[in-house]
Amino acid sequence: MAFEGISSKLQSVFKKLTGKGRLSEKEVREAMREIKLALLEADVNFLVVKDFVKRVEARAVGTDVLESLTPGQMIIKIVNEELTSLMGSTNAKLEFGSKKPAVILMAGLQGAGKTTMCGKLAALVKKQYGKTVLLCACDIYRPAAIDQLKVVGGKAEVPVFERGTQKPEQTVVEAIEYARSHFIDVVIVDTAGRLHIDGDMMEELKRVRDACEPAEILLVIDAMTGQDAVNAAKAFDETVPLTGVIITKLDGDTRGGAALSVRSVTGKPIKFAGTGEKMTDIEPFHPDRMASRILGMGDVLTLIEKAEKAFDEKKAKELERKMRTDAFTLEDFLDQMEQMKDMGSMEEIMGMIPGMSGKMGNLQVDEKAMGRTKAIIQAMTPKERENPDILNASRRRRIARGSGTQIQDVNRLINQFDQSRKLMKQLTGGKLGKKMKRRGGFPFKF
C-alpha cells in the first residue's frame, strides 16, 4: 500500500528506456499493468478500471514523449488527464430551484455520515449563500438519530424540525409547511441510512422524494468504500435520480477510488467533500486533486507541469550539445539555475517528488548558497563567464568584492565547475546517466 508506489514502479518499467521518441505498445502495456494495480488498490471498481485502462492504452500507444519528460512521466501525464476528465469538472454549486423553500434531500447507506454532513451543509448554506436553513429529521429508525441531528443543528445554529417516529413522508410535508410560514429558504432533509437492496426502504425514500420535490438529491458516500460503491450508487440513482454526490471521511488515508467509481457509473458531479468532524470541515470537491490522490502520485504531476513550462526545449537541446562538446560555460550554469528557480524553491521541488519529502529529513538544500553562487557568477564579465580559465588572482578578488563573498567562495565555485566540466567530458563518453545519478543528479553542489 505504499503511497509513492506508482511513480517508482513506472520508473522501473521504463528504466531500460533511455531514449525518448515514441511510446511503444509493449511499454504502454507494461505500464498499464501497474496503473491497473494502483487503481484497484485505490478501490476503483474493477469494471471501471478495465474500461479506463483500455482507453488510456489506446491513447498512449504511439504518442510522442515530450522533450522534457521521461516516458514514465509521460504516461502519468496521460493517465492523469484521462482521470481528471473522468472525474468531471469542479461543480460545488448548490441548486435551489424556483420553489420556496428549496429542499435538499440527503440519502445514503448506513454510517456514511449523512447526519453530520447535514449540519455541515446547513452551516455552509447559511454562510456562503446567506440563506436561512431548517434541518428536517427523517431518520426514525436508528436510536437517537433525531437527538444527534438536534445537537448537530445546535452546532450549526439552525433549527431542527422533528415529529418523532411519524412517517417521514408526512414529516417532510409538515417541515416544508413550517419553513414556508417561518420564511425559511432551505430545508435539508436527513434520511435514515438504508441498504440499496432493501426494497421497502428504497420505496420509502421514493415516497419522501415525491412528498418534498427536492431541488437537490445528494448521495452521501464514504470515501473508504470498496468495490461495492458502484452497486449502491447505481441503485440509489435509479430509485431517486441523484443531482450530485458528497464524499465523506476524505481526511483519512484512503486513496478514495470510490469517488471515481461513483462518478463514472452515475455521471453525477461530486459536489462536496467532508474532511473532518468539525462543522466547518466541508470543502468543494476538486476533481483534479482526487485524480492524483487515487493514483498516489504525490504532486509529481505539479512537477511535470512546472517542468513543462520552465524548460525551454531549445535551451535543453543547446545545453545537451554544449555538454557533449565541452563548451559548457558558467553562463550556461547560471541559465540552468534560473530555470530551476522558475520551478520553485529546491525544497518545494524535492517535496513534490513522491518519496523524497520524507527522506529529505535534515538534508536541506541551502538556498542561500545557491544565491551566493549566482551572485558570484553575476559579478563576472561575460568574457570571464565564457572562459573561466582567465580568472587570475586579481580578477577573483574583484569578483569576491563585487558579489559580497569571500575569495574562498569564488575559488570553491571555480574548482567545482572545473571538476564538473571534466566529469561531463568523461561522462559524455557514454555513462552519463549513471554517474550523474551518483552525484545527485546535478554536477554542482550548491
Partner: protein
C-alpha cells in the same frame, strides 16, 4: 441463540449479486479464462489483487496436484482455500468467563449497534454485561447506546458529552465491580486511524482497562464495515499498533458487499473475525463461520 437462519440470511444478502458468480462455475474446462474470471470475482469482493493472486496460485497447484478437471471441483477447492485462510481455533475469551470487550473502529462502521447486539447475545446466555459509553465525542452517541442498553436490559455508565472517555471507563469498571457483572463492553468514538491524537486516546483507554482489571482478559474488536475497500487493511494495522487487536467484527453483510478484505487482514495480521452483523435488529449478530463465509463469498 443460534437462530439457524444465519447462513440463509447471509446467503440472501450475498446472493443478490451472486447470479453471475453462479454462471462462473459451469461444467466447462479449467482454463486461463476461468482463472481470470475467478480473479475478477475475488477483486470485486474486495479481496484485493495481491490476495486474489496468491489464492489463485494456490488453486492452480491444487488443481494440478488433485488432477481436477471440472470447474465445480475447482470452485470447491477455492472455497476450501479461502476458508482455510480465515479459519481460526482460538476461543473468544468472553465465552470463557469474565472479560472486557473493547470496541474500536473508524466512523460509521456500526460500533454502537454492535455493542447493543453483543450485550443482548450474552445477556440471553445468562451473563451480566455492563456497558461503558466511552464515545463522548459524537453527538447523541450515548443516547443511541442507551437505547440499545434498554433493549438488551443491561446497565450502562455514561458521562456528559465531551468528557474524558478514559474516565468513563474508569467509572464503568467501578460500577462493574459493585454490581458483580461479568462482561464489560466498552464503546468508543469512531476515529480515523491516521489521527494520531485520537489513536493515543484509545491507547489510554486500553491502559486504564489493563490497570484497573489486570486479571480480566481483554478482547479488542475492530468493527469493519463490509463495504470498506482496501483501506481496511491500513485501519487494522493502525489499530493493532495502539491497542493490540484480538478480533474483527464484520458489519453490514446484509448488503451486497462481501467484506473480502477481511481475508487479507486475517492473512497479514492473523486477526480472526469473531462476529458478523447481518441487519439492524438486535438479533442480527452471528458467530463467524469460516466455511459458510467462504461459501457465501463465491
Amino acid at each position: 441463540m443460534e437462530k439457524k437462519s444465519w447462513f440463509t440470511k447471509l446467503k440472501e444478502g450475498l446472493g443478490k449479486t451472486n447470479s453471475w458468480f453462479a454462471g462462473l462455475f459451469g461444467g466447462e474446462r479449467i482454463n486461463d479464462e476461468f482463472y481470470e474470471e475467478l480473479e475478477e470475482a475475488m477483486i470485486l469482493a474486495d479481496m484485493g489483487m495481491d490476495t486474489a493472486e496468491k489464492l489463485l496460485d494456490a488453486l492452480r497447484e491444487t488443481v494440478k496436484r488433485e488432477k481436477l478437471t471440472a470447474r465445480d471441483e475447482a470452485k470447491d477447492a477455492l472455497i476450501r482455500l479461502i476458508a482455510d485462510t480465515v479459519r481460526h481455533d482460538t476461543p473468544f475469551l468472553a465465552d470463557q468467563g469474565p472479560c472486557t470487550v473493547l470496541i474500536v473502529g473508524v466512523n460509521g462502521v456500526g460500533k454502537t449497534t454492535t455493542i447493543g447486539k453483543i450485550a443482548n447475545l450474552y445477556k440471553q446466555n445468562g451473563r451480566k454485561p455492563m456497558i461503558a459509553a466511552a464515545d463522548t465525542f459524537r453527538a447523541a452517541a450515548a443516547e443511541q447506546l442507551g437505547e440499545w442498553a434498554n433493549r438488551a436490559d443491561c446497565p450502562m455508565v455514561r458521562h456528559q458529552e465531551g468528557a474524558d472517555p478514559a474516565a468513563v471507563v474508569f467509572d464503568a469498571i467501578a460500577s462493574y465491580r459493585a454490581k458483580g457483572c461479568d462482561l464489560l463492553l466498552v464503546d468508543t468514538a469512531g476515529r480515523l486511524h491516521n489521527k494520531k491524537n485520537l489513536m493515543n486516546e484509545l491507547n489510554k483507554i486500553r491502559r486504564v482497562i489493563a490497570r484497573e482489571l489486570p486479571d480480566t482478559p481483554c478482547e479488542v474488536l475492530l468493527v469493519l464495515d463490509a463495504t470498506t475497500g482496501q483501506n481496511a487493511t491500513a485501519q487494522a494495522k493502525a489499530f493493532m499498533e495502539v491497542c493490540e487487536l484480538t478480533g474483527v467484527v464484520l458489519t453490514k453483510l446484509d448488503g451486497t458487499a462481501k467484506g473480502g478484505v477481511t481475508v487479507q487482514i486475517h492473512d497479514t495480521l492473523n486477526v480472526p473475525v469473531r462476529f458478523i452483523g447481518v441487519g439492524e435488529g438486535i438479533d442480527d449478530l452471528q458467530r463467524f463461520d469460516a466455511d459458510e463465509f467462504a461459501k457465501a463469498l463465491l
